[in-house]
Assembly symmetry: C2
Homo-oligomer: 364 residues x 2
């Protein structure tokens, strides 16, 4: 966002979608506005998911993952479950980053235990030109905006709601590769061999993301997060050319809503990410808090960064490492993991992490 | 290794295995000894493999990957092929890092297009105790030592021969996880929940690696490389506790042979890796040469670090980036990729990379 506009920001009262409710637990919003708080807010990436028995029950009653994504009242239910169960300080809309490629004309399937798969992939500039983009594509995602509205009603102002999108490079990676990959070598080959087609694709994805996130904000998102899940497989030069400029465009286009940028394994770009027009920067667990602060600079809020595998340990170990992390960040911080919580994490261990943060107090 | 012992090091003449031949192209050895050379030596990780038509022909004539690993004359043939075809400045023995777990009593299978799979995995300290280790385990790998001897004969002193091993953490990761994984969350869970069992396993693996690499040196290896392929999924603290001390033990135990340590995605440990008793440190493509030098320090040789996907580009682009890299390292450097060459890389592009390095001259 370009400017912080006051205590009400992220909830513009003239929006046709907006319910106008005050947010009771606004800790996340206050930290993102630069306020000093007595403790950091806490939420978990993938908190709406398989760690929760009520999610597994809901999911098992359906034909597939995409049914849950596309049915607004069900997506809202999944979104609210971790707020009810864990008492986290924010909800994040249950959805998938691949709704954007689909809205642009590239369908995907979610294969059980294998992840996403695209029957058709992007191979050349003609494939790119054939895609829809911008508001035309974003309009097709009305089910997401409805899910946000349902969620806002269900949350009844308890906590802020985070909307999200994949970053342009990460979405390109799936659209060219056709699914998950250890190396994403097809996607990277596309950057090296067809840079102009790649840039046109990145540009069209960016236009779509901007329209999409703006619609999400209108539908009630109080914060947005951009996930660059595959930042870490690019060289710094490629990242500078094919990822950062597009994330920068998204940040600038987001008005009156705080933006969190999370480039997984993108340690080498943290200095540049720290100069983006965003409010917060996510860190994975390979970056220690001091180094993250040094690289990102003093201005932004930092988010993260517990190793998801710590939550397999016993309570004493979880508490010890969590408190160490909280002290290391020491403010301007949103407590989270350094990546999504793993589906087989014991719920009581997740609860131990959340409770540890919520019982913590800064010594200022 | 503890000390550099003179121009003949790495080829002790009293070894029963050693053929006593002088090495004609000893550029790699000279750089590892600290000599200033007119250009860097060049080889590629996974150069013995699917990029070569003669490898594919050899491989297709066999029942499986493991037949190629376990038949010394065939492994030697695969090892020499890239020296014949590409004129690289070093050979690396064709083998697999998972021969070590197998020799310790944990069999693996190589599943076509899916990678390694362990029918049994390590679950607790009793499983660890049941494993063999040290020279008893290493003796079972006689087929590898024979492959080195065959290779030395076949090479007839043309270039040095590199022996290698996976690092203890990387081998533990496969032995606990049971195969490849995006997160290796089972292996990391083992570190968090059974640290003592993990350390016993790491210690037994380390003992085996030391015996194994020493046997390789006796059989003719002029250099050894330790691959920590899964360094990047550990936090700096876990890496410091569960990986570095074991690599350090290996480095110290290697006498009269130069050691290269490559921790893929282990940027956060480069400072500490730079203080190991090794001669060279590998870098992946996320670390730019200047930063790598700053972190590793001025003493070690650096190895790497072209993005394997660059070799999908046209010759002009490959040459441009390769020369930029060579100039950025500017000496004390072994030219290589930042990871193994991808199997579908066009052979002429690999040749372009090798030729570009070999035509390059430092301006001193």
């Amino acid at each position: 966002m370009s400017q912080i506009t006051g205590p009400n920001y992220g909830r513009s009262s003239n929006s046709p979608y907006h319910c106008g409710m005050e947010i009771k637990n606004d800790l996340l919003l206050r930290v993102l506005q630069g306020e000093t708080t007595e403790r950091p807010p806490v939420w978990l990436m993938r908190q709406a998911g398989r760690i929760l028995p009520q999610y597994r029950e809901l999911r098992n009653s359906l034909s597939g993952f995409k049914e849950l994504v596309t049915r607004p009242e069900l997506a809202a239910e999944a979104t609210i479950q971790p707020v009810d169960e864990l008492g986290v300080d924010a909800a994040i809309i249950f959805s998938d980053i691949l709704v954007i490629p689909e809205a642009m004309g590239l369908d995907y399937e979610m294969v059980e235990k294998r992840g996403p798969s695209f029957p058709k992939t992007i191979k050349n500039i003609d494939d790119v030109k054939a895609l829809d983009s911008g508001s035309i594509a974003a309009e097709r995602l009305d089910y997401v905006y409805q899910a946000l509205q349902h969620t806002k009603t269900g949350l009844a102002g308890r906590v802020p709601l985070i909307g999200f999108s994949g970053a342009p490079w990460t979405l390109l990676a799936y659209m060219v590769e056709g699914g998950g990959s250890k190396t994403f070598s097809k996607a990277k080959k596309f950057l090296y061999t067809q840079p102009e087609a790649a840039k046109l694709l990145l540009s069209k994805i960016t236009d779509t993301i901007i329209a999409y996130l703006n619609n999400k904000v209108k539908a009630g998102a109080d914060v947005v997060q951009v996930f660059d899940s595959w930042a870490g497989i690019l060289s710094p030069d490629l990242y500078r050319e094919f990822s950062l400029p597009y994330i920068a465009r998204i940040c600038t286009a987001m008005e009156d809503v705080p933006v969190i940028v999370f480039a997984k394994d993108g340690w080498f770009a943290l200095n540049e990410i720290g100069r983006l027009d965003c409010q917060a920067v996510g860190l994975d667990w390979t970056v220690n808090p001091q180094l993250g602060r040094e690289w990102v600079g003093s201005e932004k809020v930092l988010q993260g960064n517990i190793d998801p595998c710590l939550l397999y340990a016993d309570f004493t170990t979880i508490r010890k490492h969590t408190i160490e992390m909280l002290k290391a960040f020491n403010g301007k911080h949103i407590a989270n993991l350094g990546h999504g919580v793993y589906p087989d994490t014991p719920l009581d261990n997740v609860r131990c992490f959340v409770d540890t943060v919520q019982e913590f107090r800064y010594v200022h």
